[in-house]
Symmetry: C2
DNA sequence: ATGAAAGCGCTAACAG
DNA sequence: CTGTTAGCGCTTTCAT
């Protein structure tokens, strides 16, 4: 006999057949109702829903995925840091994914992880996602996997390559350009740059924007100082920059570094903004409340996430169509008290 | 004829039968190899792996989940904020989940979301997770769903109820107690508290710890000022507290609020730490670099996540066994420059 | 507008 | 140590 109680208890959770039986319809009809398919009379739909409710029925996503070949989920590869930028983007992605009707699976790549992005993507593929978001990646060369689902890279330069991959930009270069121009507009001869780690695309973009702004006005390009995003590295850079009297304006690639920088400057007796102006990047929550309140650039994380997801979902659901045009997210410079005109400008008769 | 080409192209991805055929074994053996089951000869294992490699075979997780009844994934419900604390915890959870061999699915509950935690849990259940982590929840009353998988609540007081739910504590009350005692030890008569929003368990725990510390020494308990975690709310609270000359020490429930508070105090001419000592909570990355460097309490996010996951995995994999004892994560007070002895103590010919 | 039948690719249970 | 058989609960395809 094979009629015996199969697997475990069997008294378990209800399946669609149970609902069908109770509603007096076929199992397929239950499926139709739960998938919002057409050709189900309002009455039947109601009866099915009632039966499902009574039983506490829940669609089995594994069975659904197996039968349909789609998991209705997207995976995101993140850097695994609580840094304000990446964390904000992740939250934006979660929201956008959910709004699009997908579930979200997350895999981090720890810095220094040998498997890196490739390993993370692989793990997502094992899980069977319908699409992949790579958030703020660092440069590790191309991803060495055969990826057969659409991939979108958020916040990387378009040079990031992968099959079926598109890029949706934070446009950090533009933002960096705006920050640099603000300093130039105030009258500074040139602007120094406290860059992020150059393995990060996000850091490189900011460097590019800074460079472009200087070049556009024919200004001298000072040597770049590189930090690691941390306030501590900003502090170290600040000690170095404080020693150079030619430094009157610094654009830091993120707010944490800017804060460390300002502290080092202050300790060295070079007040901000009296002697040196500083612009940060991100507009972290405390930026308006540190001393001095930080002029910074705000990134539109939610907009970037939404935009990226729009493209990804399009690629998933309409594979044969071309991608819709990308919309550029808004740019915002928040001017506070850490930037001012250079001294030589405010007190004309030479420097003070 | 049913022999015609079924579903789509069929030239698609390889399945375990394909691997089996190529390796000259049965399909079940392939399954054995991929599940690291015993009783497979080294030779067969090698052949199977080689065949899988050649074909680019990947286990189909949906089929596996359907057949086994387990998804090998855990879901996490988070608050959807980039605040340092919650974001750090999330990263810790991701790591712990992956280390435990599970995949991670994430659902946020936006503050003010009508569906709330219940909706988030529901969505995780729809996705078919094996276990659920609820991270740093806010109080919405009990979760109104029939949950048939283990649930662990991170950073909530044990009063949070749900079927099969256990709590792994951040032990924020203990940490808050340490912070308060530090201030008392410095000689302050009492300590004011700038609390977080009381709907958050995390905020309540800190309040409790503060209260306990005062009570233990028989100190007067000043009125609590409540903020919303933001530096802006800390600033507002600071303006209020600055007006009260009796305030010589404040314990803020997080660093952001502490920073806003310090700014307001400074603007009101009440220097930190000369006139007022301030302790924060979290040790955010910039805490050491703001002015003055912030004395704060560091939460062991990774340890909490690991500990929580250990319990959850135990509950998933050995449902009939009792939970192992919980290990209390380490406590750390980071003393920097925002705290000092009160003036009245340092000036008179008394102490020192 | 509804139903019947046939898998989706894998693991479980039991033989050998 | 290895293979056989029977589903897991749903969607697909094709009838009706």
């Amino acid at each position: 006999m094979t009629q015996s109680v199969p697997r475990s208890e069997r008294a378990s959770t209800p399946r669609s057949v149970d609902v069908a039986r109770l509603a007096g319809v076929s199992q397929k009809t239950v499926s139709r109702v739960f998938n919002d398919e057409p050709y189900v009379s309002a009455d039947v739909r109601r009866r099915v829903m009632a039966a499902a409710d009574e039983l506490g029925y829940r669609l089995n996503s594994a069975a659904r995925a197996l039968a349909s070949g789609r998991t209705r989920s997207v995976g995101v590869v993140t850097l695994g840091t609580a840094l304000y930028g990446p964390a904000s983007l992740l939250m934006g992605i979660e929201r956008a994914v959910r709004d699009a009707g997908y579930a979200l699976r997350v895999v981090n790549t720890l810095e220094g992880d040998p498997a890196g992005v490739t390993g993370a993507v692989e793990s997502l593929l094992d899980q069977g996602v319908d699409g992949i978001v790579i958030s703020e990646p660092i440069d590790e060369g191309a991803v060495a996997v055969q990826v057969d689902v659409p991939v979108i890279v958020l916040g990387a330069s378009p040079s990031f390559v992968a099959p079926r991959a598109v890029t949706a930009g934070v446009g950090a270069d533009l933002l960096a350009r705006v920050a640099t121009e603000h300093l130039l507009d105030l009258g500074h001869e040139t602007v120094h740059h406290l860059a992020g780690p150059q393995r990060w695309f996000a850091a490189r973009d900011r460097l590019d924007g800074w460079r472009a702004a200087l070049a556009a006005r024919g200004r001298r390009e000072p040597a770049v100082v590189e930090g690691d995003w941390s306030a501590a590295s900003g502090y170290a850079a600040g000690r170095q920059l404080a020693a150079d009297p030619g430094v009157t304006a610094v654009f830091a690639a993120n707010d944490d570094m800017a804060i460390g920088l300002i502290r080092a400057l202050a300790e060295a007796g070079r007040g901000v903004p009296e002697e040196v102006s500083v612009v940060g990047f991100d507009d972290i929550p405390v930026a308006a409340f540190v001393t001095p309140p930080l002029t910074t650039v705000r990134q539109p994380f939610d907009a970037v996430a939404q935009e990226g997801l729009r493209l990804l979902v399009h690629a998933i659901e309409k594979p044969e169509q071309d991608l819709p045009p990308a919309n550029d997210p808004p740019v915002e410079l928040v001017v506070r008290a850490s930037t001012a005109q250079p001294r030589s400008r405010t007190i004309p008769g030479r420097d003070r």
